[in-house]
Every structure is written in structure tokens, then in C-alpha cells.
Amino acid sequence: MQSSLLFPQKCKKIGLVLFIPFLVLGIMNLFYEFQFRWLDLPVHLPLKDITTDYNLTNELAGIGILLSLLMIAFSKETKEDEFIVQVRLESLQWAVYVNYALLAICILFVNGTMFFQVIIYNMYTVLIFFILRFNFILYKTSRSASS
């Protein structure tokens, strides 16, 4: 992956700091229907000819989680060399295989509203699998280099 397509190195830390609050907000919104009142947006429904409030908390949480995961996943490493580029590409391929293998299993065994939840998680799991695999390989090679 060309280093020009990567975020600057400091974005990894920013992504890690942002991920936790957005994840908590997402969980609170999904399971406890928590909403920020200041994110209410008046929407006009032309068929019923009424104006109602639409809350944007879940959109904020979704975009926040997505951006923070992208920053963690695609920020430059301290020494961004060709080995790191190869590990990044292999990890991305591995993550896509694992993600869609799990999705295929869920398509077969999960139905109804539970499947809707699976789809929500699946939007993010490809990035999470990538981050875990990429950092695990880097950790493993740095350990073997130290010993």
C-alpha cells in the first residue's frame, strides 16, 4: 500500500483516543436507546404532512467509530518500510477472508432481526480483524527481532 494513501503517524493515537467514547456511545444508543437531544433534526414527512424530530446520535456514533477505526488501521508506522507494507496488505486480505467467512456462516444460521444486528457489526469487523492481525504480526516480529 502506497504510503501516500496512509494517514500521518499521529493519527493512530488520535484514533485510539476517539474510538472508546464513540464505541460507548454506539453501545448506549444500540442497547439503551440513548440519544443526544441536541442532535434532534426536524424532518418533514410529505405523505403525512407533519414535521417530526429525527435524532442523529446513531449516525454520529457510526461515523465516529468508522473514522477512528480507519485512523487506527491506516496510519503510518514509525518506520514505514516495504516489510510493513507487505504485512499490511496480507493482513487486509486475511481480514477480508475471515470477515466474509463469518458473514457466510451468519447468513446460514442467523435469521430475522438478529441478522440485522450481524450486518451492523459486520460493517466494522473487517477493520477490527485487520487491526488485530496487523498489530499481532508486528508484535511477533519485533519480539523475535529483540530475542
Binding site: K79, D81, E82, F83, I84, Q86, L138, T141, S144, A145
Partner: protein, 71 residues
């Protein structure tokens, strides 16, 4: 493919860290090349050969299994 980086490092009396700095990569990269887990690009192979004062052919050697699968 096998390599003689470890031997050449010993001859030139330089550490993995120093070699990494000379060719502009991380120590992990040198370590994975040395152990045969990662094959460097042509550019990096040429850089390694240059700083170790040796030819690329003397630094990296093909093995029998590298020819397997070719008709």
C-alpha cells in the same frame, strides 16, 4: 532463497540496527530477511549488497525449491 547477511554483517562488524539504518528500514525488516521469512525487493537487495560491499548474487542465493513448479 538463502542469504549470507548474518555472515556479511559479522565480516563488516555491524549490528542489525546499524544495517537497518544504513539502508533505511526497520530492524524487524532486517531480522525477517536474515531469517528467510521475508524476501526483499530488488531495490532493498541492491542497497544491502552495496552497504555490505558484496554482489547481490553473493548475498542472496537461489535454492533448489525456488525452481519447483516450473515446467
Amino acid at each position: 532463497m538463502k542469504n549470507t547477511i548474518k555472515i556479511q554483517r559479522a565480516i563488516n562488524n555491524i549490528t542489525q540496527e546499524e544495517l537497518a539504518k544504513l539502508v533505511g528500514v526497520s530492524r524487524q525488516t532486517i531480522n525477517t530477511i536474515e531469517s528467510g521469512k521475508y524476501l526483499p525487493s530488488t531495490l532493498l537487495a541492491l542497497k544491502l549488497a552495496t552497504v555490505l560491499h558484496i554482489t547481490v548474487e553473493a548475498l542472496f542465493m537461489l535454492e533448489k525449491q525456488d525452481w519447483e513448479g516450473i515446467n
